[in-house]
């Protein structure tokens, strides 16, 4: 810590205020920075190791974030789903009357049913190729989704055979602006607007919003190999509570009184449940944890290489310092200071490039790649640890510098 404070102080003694005690010569800083090219290579190395960690962690988070972005915009304080539906992927519905039963409870102001269907075939108006989209349907009068563009299209959605399309749907879905007419589930559909949400694994191609009546029109009378839907079975039920109501308490009350063929969760619990599925029950967690760990190890090797080279090259000088009377501990602090400086100098460009990368990925893939303060801090801590570990290993070499060998040859 002292070393760090030392590095951060101004470099030369102040000519006007001589009472300011000049600091110790920052040998760590000078040794690290006096050769331009070497320094740039070192910074490049550390930044890219940092970038790797940001990248893999970022992809992992993007996959998780994408899965819950729909959940987060659901306008409900308590969520009701079929007990078997522990992830949105599972197409289980529950009886609509459960919502009526829940509505009767104190504190519950309103109950909105949300109908979903995965794999509704949408025809690209230009190429005529079909892609499966996810359909979200509800009564346009119910403020089911907290998205302004959706609320704005309330009236339009009441018209038959209309829908609004997620503009972040994949390019293969084709043009999707208002006025486009094409086919969904082999029936005509009119696009009356767009909104913005994003894709995820379940709806990898895109999302479409329509009214519940339209949902019936498209999905209640299908061919023999498709499952039909009606409005009495609901995929996701949203309960809106009175302002100031305690969601947890009401959820508990509901669980006690309502039959257990449904799950009752507060919205944060619902989101957590979904995230948990993706983290624990799929390979995503394993893959990206492995990749991030490898990046961490690569970083350690990189930094160690830099520190080791510095110690090797200045072997004789460091031994001389020992002969003059500097203790081993001083040399340890020089090495550790260097590792910390590397951590800081490498983190900043790594972070900046990561920001650019996140943006590029979001645009190219539709996945939601977000940098948050928490995530940046997480990687910063990893970077510092990485450098400290390298420093600790490199320090052993510097301790071996024998001052007696400086004499003679």
């Amino acid at each position: 810590m002292v070393g760090l404070a030392v590095v951060l102080q101004p470099l030369t003694p102040h000519p006007v205020f001589p009472c300011v005690l000049p600091m110790r010569t920052p040998l760590a800083w000078f040794n690290l920075t006096y050769e331009r090219r070497r320094l740039l290579t070192a910074i490049a190395g550390v930044s890219f190791a940092v970038l790797l960690m940001f990248m893999f962690k970022g992809f992992e988070n993007a996959l998780y974030d994408s899965q819950v972005q729909l959940l987060k915009v659901l306008n409900g304080d308590i969520i009701v789903v079929n007990r078997l539906k522990y992830t949105m992927f599972i197409p289980e519905q529950f009886a609509r009357r459960r919502l009526y039963q829940a509505q009767a409870f104190e504190g519950v102001e309103a109950a909105y049913p949300l109908y979903t269907r995965d794999g509704a075939y949408w025809k690209n108006p230009e190429t005529k190729a079909v892609r499966p989209l996810r359909v979200l349907a509800f009564n346009p009068n119910d403020p089911v989704l907290n998205i302004p563009e959706v609320l704005a299209k309330q009236e339009g959605l009441k018209l038959p055979w209309t829908a609004i399309v997620d503009e972040k749907s994949r390019a293969e879905v084709g043009p999707r602006s208002a006025g486009i007419v094409t086919e969904m589930a082999e029936q005509q559909i009119h696009v009356i607007g767009t909104y913005s949400m994003g894709t995820d694994f379940a709806s990898a191609n895109g999302n479409v919003i329509m009214s519940d009546q339209n949902f019936l029109r498209y999905f209640s009378d299908l061919g023999p190999e498709e499952t039909e839907r009606d409005l009495n079975t609901v995929d996701v039920g949203l309960l809106k509570l009175a302002p100031g109501a305690d969601a947890n308490a009401i959820a508990v009350a509901l669980r006690q009184r309502l039959p257990n063929d449904i799950s009752i969760l507060t919205k944060p619990e619902f989101v957590a449940m979904e995230l948990n599925y993706w983290r624990k029950n799929t390979s995503i967690g394993f893959i990206f944890t492995l990749l991030t760990t490898m990046s961490f190890v690569v970083g350690i090797i990189l930094v160690y290489q830099i520190l080791y080279t510095d110690v090797s090259e200045h072997w004789v000088e460091y031994a001389t310092l020992k002969a003059i009377g500097y203790s081993n501990r001083y040399l340890l602090t020089v090495v550790m200071q260097q590792s910390l400086i590397l951590a800081m100098l490498g983190f900043v460009p790594g972070y900046l490039i990561a920001l650019v990368l996140y943006d590029a990925t979001t645009n190219a893939t539709g996945l939601l790649m977000n940098m948050t303060l928490g995530r940046a801090l997480e990687i910063l801590i990893a970077t510092v640890s990485m450098c400290l570990i390298s420093g600790a290993i490199a320090v052993r070499k510097v301790q071996a510098a024998d001052p007696a060998e400086v004499f003679g040859n």
Binding site: P13, L21, P22, M23, R24, T25, L27, F30, N31, T33, Y34, E35, H314, V316, E317, A319, T320, L321, K322, A323, I324, G325, Y326, S327, N328, P403, A404, V406, F407, G408
Partner: protein, 266 residues
């Protein structure tokens, strides 16, 4: 020349000797070995030596004779187990690393190579020594003053890359002398210098010896500077062969006929 009185090996408590403050270095029955067990090889045999304050001593001898080893021992750079070696009133035998480091701070080392940090200016390299004494306030002034004394006033903010070989060595010497040590150990200090620089440096050391009562022990083959010494000791195969006052030495040795083993003319 005052002979070293036999000191008991356990002399850490009270140094009992005639005029103790005079002796910068006091060595008694020193034996030193390299390696351990069956591979143990002895390099110093029964060395007895006393160096008073303010004396300038030149140590000569063929290569492999143990001069460098003795120098490193006096410089508190190695741990010792046998015999007695007192440096500036500190008994080095049995000291641990930390204590040895403390002793080193009072000694000025001058090496054959300059061993400066390429990344630091001349002034900064010298300041590294000043900082050791925790004197940060005046470190730059003291560094500049010392560099001026060695004739490098114009070059204080130059990095070693832009200095000549001789200049670099002078910076190293400035570094060694800036804390005004009471004992200076030098290993071929003038080997890399031309005649004039070498002379200047040596004169500087001489002044320090006389003004500050600083003891100088120098290993050298440079017979141009023989005359600055008060005393010449000769180490052969780990034993102190001769130990003479300079006049005596000069009387007995014609520099031109010197045994090639002892000196190399540069």
């Amino acid at each position: 020349m005052s002979d070293a009185l036999s000191l008991s090996n356990d002399s850490r408590t009270v140094p009992i000797e005639v005029a103790p403050a005079e002796m910068a270095v006091q060595i008694c029955d020193l034996n030193y070995y390299f390696g351990q067990g069956d591979l143990r090889k002895q390099v110093l045999y029964d060395v007895n030596l006393s160096l008073p304050r303010g004396q300038i001593v030149i140590m000569t001898g063929p290569s492999g004779s143990g001069k460098t080893t003795l120098l490193t021992l006096i410089g508190a750079l190695r741990t010792l187990q046998e015999g007695s070696l007192q440096v500036l009133q500190h008994e080095l035998v049995g000291m641990n690393q930390r204590e040895l480091v403390e002793v080193r701070r009072n000694i000025g080392f001058i090496f054959q190579a300059h061993n400066l940090f390429e990344s630091l200016t001349a002034s900064q390299n010298v300041e590294m020594a000043v900082e050791l004494m925790d004197d940060r306030r005046a470190k730059r002034q003291r560094a500049i003053a010392m560099l001026t004394e060695v004739g490098l006033a114009e070059r204080v903010d130059y990095k070693p890359k832009t200095l000549s070989g001789g200049q670099k060595q002078r910076v190293a010497i400035a570094r060694a002398l800036v804390n005004q040590p009471t004992l200076i150990l030098a290993d071929e200090p003038t080997a890399a210098l031309d005649k004039k620089s070498g002379r200047d440096v040596v004169t500087l050391m001489q002044n320090l010896a006389k003004e500050k009562n600083c003891t100088i022990l120098m290993v050298t083959h440079d017979n141009r500077i023989l005359d600055m010494a008060d005393r010449i000791i000769n180490l052969v195969d780990g034993r102190l062969e001769t130990d003479e006052e300079i006049d005596h030495f000069m009387d007995n040795h014609n520099p031109k006929n010197l045994d090639r083993h002892m000196f190399m003319t540069l």
